[in-house]
């Protein structure tokens, strides 16, 4: 264990599967919160729907159809159909969340979404046909891995970074999807449609007074951001081949907000930068502390304390960032000069 190892680990994680999962969800939040000002505190609900749809349709209900007479094997013949269902379900979730709340004040959406995230997690956890407390494990992403074009070999080296054949395929596809979605976000946000969203964020009534149907635009933003969240969950299920209710906690959404604000909200590349830095720091602090404990530099800590401490240190760093650069890394300095609304 040396500094080189610490750095390699940190870089691998900064662009790895977990970072991609968080990044996809955060890109959705960027559309909802960054551009439109919608306070979705339950992005995890969309992630869970996406992940569970894959797990349930590809594993759980293939083995034990529920209700037992449902021909799930013919209804969901492969992963791609399951993905379609997952996306469809996330749209339905967005409609359920949005229809009653988007006409109300902004805080109602916040309350409803945070509650929904918990309801969904507990519902999955306590319903055995949906995996129950064990979650769902199995080769739910097999159709995806079957397309892996890389030659059969144990490891692929890129400088210090090492990937297995499957990991390489997962990570590359993840970043390709992210690239495409960034392009989509950029195209949407420079358009008049994007301008209406930003207007809603600044003052919805002003935009309404100018003849725009803000309810429709808010719904569209909620659905689009929710679809990004579902893609995060779909990627999660495929990459990890495991869906656990206890991973679907509210903290997921709060980390997404941290990433978004760190990178810069309402910037196309903000979430990317935020996710990479966030995961790099989190892993670097952890591995670095472990290194120092390992070689005896630090004696007042034991390895099991490092997990919580890294969150404390990273949290501290984020607080400093908020004090000295509250608009995020990519944020526009001019915005700060504006008086608070």
């Amino acid at each position: 264990m040396d500094l080189g190892f610490v750095l390699t680990q940190s870089i691998t994680q900064a662009i790895g599967v977990t970072a991609i999962i968080y990044l996809l969800a955060t890109m959705g939040l960027n559309i909802q919160f960054g551009y439109t000002g919608l306070l979705n505190f339950g992005q995890i609900a969309f992630v869970a729907i996406g992940a569970y749809a894959i797990g349930v349709f590809m594993i759980q209900w293939q083995q034990n159809p529920w209700p037992s007479w449902m021909p799930w094997q013919t209804l969901v013949p492969n992963l791609w159909v399951a993905i379609l269902y997952a996306l469809l379900l996330s749209v339905i979730l967005a409609l359920i969340l949005g229809i009653p709340t988007l006409r109300l004040r902004a805080d109602y959406l916040a309350i409803v979404t945070i509650a929904t995230g918990e309801i969904i997690r507990l519902a999955f956890k306590s319903t055995d046909p949906l995996g129950g407390s064990q979650g769902i494990n199995g080769k739910m992403g097999q159709d995806f891995y079957d397309l892996n074009p890389f030659p059969q070999q144990d490891r692929f080296d890129f400088g210090p970074l090492t990937y297995t054949r499957a990991d390489l395929w997962v990570v590359i596809c993840g970043w390709v999807v992210i690239g495409l979605l960034l392009l989509l976000t950029w195209a949407l946000m420079r358009s008049p449609w994007g301008r209406v969203l930003k207007g809603i964020r600044e003052d919805e009534d002003a935009v309404r007074s100018l003849g725009k149907n803000t309810y429709l635009r808010k719904m569209q933003a909620l659905i689009l951001g929710g679809l990004f969240g579902a893609l995060s969950g779909i990627f999660w299920a495929i990459a990890k081949q495991s869906v656990q209710p206890d991973s679907m906690v509210p903290a997921f959404t709060f980390f997404c907000y941290t990433i978004l604000i760190l990178g810069g909200a309402a910037r196309v590349m903000g979430p990317v930068l935020g996710a990479i830095i966030f995961w790099f720091l989190l892993v670097f602090v952890e591995q670095f502390l472990l290194l120092l404990i390992d070689n005896g530099t630090i004696t007042f800590l034991v390895p099991t304390q490092v997990g919580p401490i890294r969150f404390i240190l990273v949290g501290l760093g984020l607080m400093l960032l908020m004090i000295y650069r509250p608009q995020g890394i990519l944020g526009d300095k001019k915005e700060l000069a504006l008086d608070a609304r």
Partner: protein
């Protein structure tokens, strides 16, 4: 120099009797029995009022008279407890604000709503109606909307020139002064090419030099054929620019008439004195009320 439309408005209103609820020869907006309660408080209770098309009508009254609430009701930002209103011959009772705006009835707000973290130009462009690029699917296909966007941009620039904001086009609206924001809000509303514009205290917080140019803008707007209804406290301004004055107090329309007539009306003097015991209603040259808050 009053223009054609100003002269027309004056002559059209010449025969109207100065009574609350007086019928107008060609009303663009007619409200009937409109009321709104907040708990036990009757904020608005307007039996009947008509606003003449092509005229500049001032809506005055002491603070808390219900002027803003009345605007909110008429423009769909608040729901009335009762009553009906007709705009340009169509019943629009409790119609959603964006639908009213698309029909040409646009309002501004007492507390200016400039979109701070949008540029002045983007603020203006948001005002333009019927934009193809505001449809989500079409927005990713710029060839569908870029020509229209370019036209809107040119139109916005002309308006910004006129309102002395052209140099600020690329600045954030949040960096403007209070008076400039009022100007921007008005210019932005004009992007919609409204037939009726309702301005809630357009001159509040605007410095005296700018006030004069705001008055000129209001006159210009009317000369272009837009009906203006505005809330204002400064009696000089009201006298200067308006063809007709509607006075509200405690939610009711208590008087109507030409500016000079209304200001001599005993009911109006009483209403203002009722609201401001410490202030004397003075002759021309002084405003009826001092503060412009709430």
């Amino acid at each position: 120099m009053p223009g054609d439309l100003a002269a027309q408005a004056v002559s059209a209103l010449a025969t109207v009797s100065p009574e609350p609820g007086a019928p107008k020869p060609d009303p663009i907006l007619v409200a009937d029995g409109v009321n709104r309660h907040f708990g036990g408080l009757v904020a608005v209770d307007v039996t009947h009022v008509e606003f003449q098309k092509g005229a500049i009508t001032a809506l005055i009254g002491p603070n808390g008279a219900g002027k803003s609430t009345f605007f909110n009701l008429l423009s769909g930002f608040d729901k009335a407890d009762g009553g009906t209103w007709v705009y340009a011959g169509t019943a629009v009772t409790n119609t959603a604000p964006h639908k009213l705006a698309r029909r040409g009835m646009v309002r501004t707000f007492q507390l200016t709503k400039s979109l701070s973290r949008l540029t002045v130009m983007d603020n203006m462009l948001l005002g333009a109606g019927g934009q193809k690029g505001e449809v989500m699917i079409a927005s990713v296909l710029p060839f569908l909307w870029s020509a229209q966007e370019k036209k809107n941009r040119e139109r916005a620039m002309v308006l910004l020139e006129r309102f002395n904001l052209a140099a600020k086009a690329d600045d954030f609206a949040g960096s403007l002064s209070g008076g400039q924001r009022k100007l921007l809000e008005m210019a932005r509303a004009l992007m919609l090419e409204p037939s009726l514009i309702m301005l809630d205290e357009p001159m509040a917080g605007v410095n005296p030099a700018l006030k004069q140019s705001l008055l000129d803008h209001i006159r210009d707007i009317r000369e272009e054929g837009t009906t203006v209804v505005f809330v204002e406290h400064d009696m000089d301004m009201v006298r200067d620019v308006s063809d007709w004055v509607v006075v509200m107090a405690q939610g009711k329309v208590i008087a109507e008439g030409r500016p000079d007539v209304v200001m001599r009306d005993q009911r109006v003097i009483d209403a203002y004195l009722g609201a401001h015991h410490d202030q004397q209603l003075t002759k021309s040259g002084e405003s009826l009320t001092e503060g412009t808050s709430s």
